[in-house]
Symmetry: C2
Subunit: 440 residues, 2 copies
């Protein structure tokens, strides 16, 4: 790990943007996550920005004002179209050049402060597009506690299937319906069939759920037919954001055999604005280990570096605000906490597995981690788990009960990394509110 910790991670660095120095901020100068933004409600072109405290720094304004060194300016070429794909495709060196330049320019004591100041836009006055044009989206299933808990509900006899500890299970998802945080989503209509119903019927989903996931963006792609060796796997990744893979459990239960989830997952998925780069996450890398007695990964998924630093230790949270809470002026309330350290596979292993048969990845492709639940009570990354399959309602502070989502519920995902000797690195908020279903 230590060879990738540099001066940009130094916990003593302060920014001249005062809000970036607050203890609880998601966006200290050590983070510098990237997004696509514009002034809220404007018809400005979407453009790339980096978060610093409660501000967004407009990267093309910086570049066009000549405030970035050549390598950082070059890193931005192609982002004028309003996506980060070109930067993603350029790989680690370009990303690091940009990080270094932003760290230099935003830290306390930097030169050209007035000019940099002119490139700031308050986050409160910004709106966000998707960070990338997502060519293909793949959802994995690396949260073993989620896989076990959900497996128990769908298949009581064999919750965790024999392939789980060998294959990083994944499936292709729908790219077109991935929306930016803050976009409301309609409750889906779909076929549902109870165990005692003679026939299915079309109805608004009665078991609408969220899923707490990380969204991992692909950086440079690979050629079709050319698997990515595990030693190079992370060279093909860019960074990580929060991802809510909304799910209609009743639709899923009826439709998913034999080819997997389809309409139960493709009506909307919500992506947080900010992509935290692999560099910003460096302090939170941890060894990848398997529980005693579990098989070691096959060779194409195994490497010394994977074992030494393949894991990622982030804290994840789910928060809810109901219509009643909103009317009463109550903020979101925490529903669950979990952690990425419970992932059964590393982000690098996902790259090598995805490409081992020759599938080509492209810059801006998205991997969902799958729901990241912890092992304990209250650590489920979905209501399906928290409510024990819909049998045990959760009781909120105001006395309202939930087994699944009701119309007007707003769900927020949040995440951060904390480690002794480093600044807290946050992911911002991934938010979506449920609208009623259309008329059937």
């Amino acid at each position: 790990m230590t060879d990738r910790i540099d001066a940009t991670h130094d916990a003593s660095l302060q920014s001249w943007v005062a809000s970036a120095n607050a203890a609880g901020t998601d966006f200290p100068v050590q983070n510098l996550p990237l997004a696509i933004f514009r002034r809220a409600g404007s018809d400005e072109a979407w453009r790339p920005g980096a978060a610093i405290g409660d501000q967004v720094v407009d990267l093309l304004t910086l570049r066009d004002a000549g405030l970035l060194p050549r390598d950082a300016a070059d890193a931005l070429a192609g982002t004028e179209v309003g996506t980060l794909n070109a930067l993603m495709g350029r790989g680690r060196a370009a990303r690091v050049a940009l990080r270094q330049a932003l760290s230099q320019g935003l830290r306390e004591g930097a030169a050209d402060r007035a000019q940099w100041q002119a490139a700031l836009v308050p986050q409160a006055g910004a709106e966000h597009g998707l960070p990338a044009r997502i060519g293909d989206y793949t959802d994995f299933y690396i949260g073993i506690h989620h896989a076990t808990a959900v497996g128990r509900l769908f298949r009581p006899d064999s919750p965790l299937l024999p392939n789980y500890k060998w294959v990083p299970i994944g499936y292709h998802g729908r790219a077109s319906s991935i929306v930016a945080s803050g976009t409301a989503l309609r409750r889906p209509l779909g076929q549902g069939k109870g165990p005692d119903d003679a026939a299915p019927q079309l109805r608004p989903s009665q078991r609408l759920d969220y899923e707490l996931e990380l969204g991992i963006f692909v950086g440079p792609g690979n050629a079709q037919g050319a698997p990515v060796p595990i030693a190079e796997a992370e060279d093909h990744l860019f960074g990580i954001g929060l991802f809510n893979d909304w799910s209609a459990r009743d639709v899923q239960a009826w439709e998913y055999q034999p080819l997997g989830p389809f309409l139960s997952k493709n009506f909307a998925s919500t992506l947080a604005p900010w992509v935290v780069t692999l560099e910003a996450l460096e302090p939170f890398r941890i060894p990848f280990t398997r529980p005693e007695g579990d098989p070691q990964p096959l060779a194409y998924l195994d490497s010394a570096e994977t074992r030494a630093r393949g894991g990622l230790d982030l804290q994840l949270e789910v928060w809810i605000q109901t219509a009643q809470m909103r009317a009463a002026g109550q903020p979101h309330e925490q529903l669950a906490r979990a952690g990425s350290r419970h992932a059964y596979w590393t982000i690098g292993q996902l790259v090598s597995h995805h490409t081992i048969g020759g599938c080509n990845l492209q810059p801006g492709d998205l991997f969902g981690s799958g729901t990241l639940s912890g092992p304990g009570e209250g650590q489920g990354g979905s209501l399906l788990e928290l409510s024990h399959g819909g049998r045990q309602p959760l009781v909120l502070a105001n006395g309202e009960k939930r087994v699944f989502l009701q119309d007007s519920d707003s769900i927020q995902l949040r995440a951060y990394g904390v480690r002794e000797g480093f600044r807290r690195i946050g992911f911002g908020v991934c938010e979506g509110t449920v609208l009623p279903a259309p008329a059937p």
Copy 2:
């Protein structure tokens, strides 16, 4: 049906391109399928073309020479980027305008013949790109004989699951690895585990197969959250081409539970060059019926028009050429025949089902039909079926045997519609050759 049969379908129409009048041609003047092409081996820009006999007519050359009426010229706006997406998004009226103009200009006795002649490129000297930038690709499973035969192999106790006759089963596939006909593909590496193996191992797929499918292109899209009513469903479709969804059966058997096929299907899928428009297929529309005793579709999948003309009666074929045949100068040999009339769901039902939960379709999206097998011996749309799960080798004319594909095998898919009183309408050829796996 009759209201959509017009003068362009008249079987007595002849073209001044003599090869279009040959009895066996796929491309008489009644067809006029569309593709993206350029001169083979050139670095010309990809551009749209229509097939006529053994020629491609260059549509932008026609337009730029002022040979197309305004509505047909307008239909081509945006195709200069080298994809048909813009035309697809414009819907039926634009497509019909183009068809009318091409039918007028290419028929015997048309004016401006010399100028039209100058826009012809021999198909033998052309190469093809993908017809569209495919945002999302969905593979359905509408061949009930395939679903039953394969189901029997994977799940002897319940070959056809209880949802099959209610839900048009589908799943999301990988768009990035869809390649144009003629592109060779590498045999994939993947995990395989026999029933008696203690652990899986990584190896070249031992059960590589093709799948005989139709590829259905989406025309105008729908807004997220807005299902497409069945009465409007075909307004959102453009046309149909041949599609080979190569499959690694050993990988599939080990990986597919519980979330569906992933690496077993995403290493390569081959799309034929030519997209036959819905208009050209009009003579082959047939009533959609359900076998006696089967449930009728739910209301969102049912309409008078669906019942009257939802089906499609096309003949489908699979042909093989092995390395030994190639060396001996032998052409491809027919492996199987099947028909699209065995589909359990209509193309319009696929649109309404895909969008019922609110999923947004976009112009150029692709639906695979799923393997279209017939009910009889020799009508399987995959080797898995023809070889009865790998247990009964097929014997080729030269004595070679096949249970699954061997390296250097070339597979061609072909299709056509025939109906008394109409010209034969063909789909051209969808071809791919298997290369050896990369070193593990």
